[in-house]
């Protein structure tokens, strides 16, 4: 079973996104965990090229691959959904730790 993603993981993801995209003018703590990251009211306003940058940064950092765009579209909805995806993929890779 997948655990509820920790606040630390979510903060780590926010920092990863901001470092990857060279965003310096936003405080990670102000990025909402649930609001959409693309085109909708969050402190971060991202586009499709940013999405690909984030997909590859997530793969490099957490060794989890978002293999298709439909999965990407729903995984990259929000910080919460990214964290849930990482937790769930990690759980599949190391089932004995759960």
């Amino acid at each position: 079973m997948t655990e509820i993603p920790s606040a630390e993981l979510k903060m780590e993801i926010k920092k990863l996104i901001m470092n990857t995209l060279n965003i310096n003018d936003v405080n990670p703590a102000e990025v909402d965990d649930e609001l959409p990251l693309f085109g909708g009211g969050n402190k971060l306003s991202l586009d499709s090229v940013d999405a690909l940058e984030i997909i590859m940064a997530i793969q490099r950092t957490y060794q989890v691959r978002i293999a298709d765009q439909n999965l990407a579209r729903y995984t990259l909805r929000s910080i919460n959904s990214i964290a849930e995806f990482i937790e769930s993929e990690k759980a599949k890779q190391h089932p004995e730790t759960k």
Binding site: S48, L52, E53, M56, A67, D68, Q69, N70
Partner: protein, 335 residues
């Protein structure tokens, strides 16, 4: 009002997804990567000059419809297909099939799928959905790009099925007609792999398969001279990212799907070497994704000088080289 009980599932690609979904709902336990691999979905083609395309373009999968045809040849699964000249007859036939509780796949222009946000919708005549219900004003639709069943206005579906232009759907419908009780998966998998290798290596046409990737690498240098201005070139270069990553899963995505197919096939035909090929193909998919990102960055920043075009060209030559090596080795192993 008609609602056919139907188990909806998202998929990586609309055509392989709709075929898989129809087969699953008809009781066949088969995965989308297995459908894709058996039907030799993986491909490449570069089109530098074609009447139907105003600017050079490329494809990363086989022709729409081929997956279904190849599945019939290799696994014996038969589909009933329909096309129509008269939209009214096409509408009536779909409704009749639904009245008979037959979930039916339809080829549509993606632009009219009004449950998808408008900014994501473009005119593509080769999107596939499965229609599973009907009431006075709406059809009930299973679209592999969407997480749940959705309603689509009847007039939107009718327009989408009979949109004009390149590869117009002509009201095309299909549904499974016969599924063999015992599919010879070993034979089907081996044929699927062999044909994929043939398509990528041996078609004697200079713009198809690995040769097509090489041609793309050579010709992309000429793209600035074909574009009207920097904005146009930027748009076309950004489109590489869309074609590879966004529309129809993309080059990276199709390569990842083929990798999953090889992984599943390894167990099914007891050929452990395919696991190594699966890992290599995952890495190849990553390489396409890196190329796609590079193109997107250059396009977004309008950084499109000759040295950047050369960089893209070199990356493509690398892709050609690794795919040549991959499919040659795979062919020797499976022979």
């Amino acid at each position: 009002m008609i609602t056919i009980p139907y188990k909806h599932k998202m998929a990586a690609h609309c055509e392989s997804g709709s075929i898989t979904s129809l087969l699953n709902n008809a009781g066949l336990d088969i995965t989308e990567p297995m459908v894709f691999g058996i039907s030799s979905g993986i491909f490449f083609g570069y089109f530098h000059k074609m009447k139907s395309f105003p600017f050079p373009t490329f494809i990363v999968r086989n022709k729409p419809g081929k997956m279904r045809e190849n599945l019939t040849k290799r696994a014996g699964i038969k589909f009933h297909t329909y096309t129509f000249k008269d939209p009214e007859k096409g509408r009536q036939m779909l409704n009749r099939l639904l009245e008979q509780n037959i979930p039916t796949a339809a080829q549509v222009d993606f632009f009219y799928m009004d449950y998808i946000p408008s900014w994501e919708r473009v005119h593509i005549n080769v999107h596939f959905i499965v229609v599973v219900g009907l009431n006075t004003y709406h059809y009930l639709v299973s679209d592999s790009y969407f997480p749940e069943l959705v309603s689509l206005k009847t007039e939107s579906l009718n327009t989408a099925r009979f949109a004009g232009g390149n590869m117009s759907p002509k009201g095309f419908l299909f549904h499974p007609e016969f599924i063999p009780k015992d599919i010879d998966y070993e034979k089907a998998i081996i044929k699927g792999i062999k044909k994929s290798c043939f398509n990528m290596l041996k078609i004697p046409i200079p713009f198809l398969g690995v040769k097509g990737i090489r041609l793309f690498a050579k010709k992309i240098i000429e793209w600035p001279s074909l574009a009207r201005d920097t904005e146009h070139l930027s748009h076309e270069i950004m489109k590489i990212n869309i074609l590879l990553e966004d529309q129809g899963t993309g080059g990276g995505g199709f390569r990842f799907m083929f990798a999953t197919f090889l992984q599943q096939a390894a167990g099914m035909i007891n050929e452990p070497e395919l696991l190594d090929f699966s890992k290599k193909m995952m890495e190849i998919g990553d390489g396409w994704r890196e190329f796609s990102l590079l193109a997107a960055r250059f396009g977004k920043n309008r950084d499109l000088g000759p040295e950047r075009m050369k960089e893209l060209s070199e990356k493509l030559m690398d892709r050609a080289q690794v795919e040549q090596q991959f499919f040659s080795q795979l062919y020797k192993t499976i022979k």
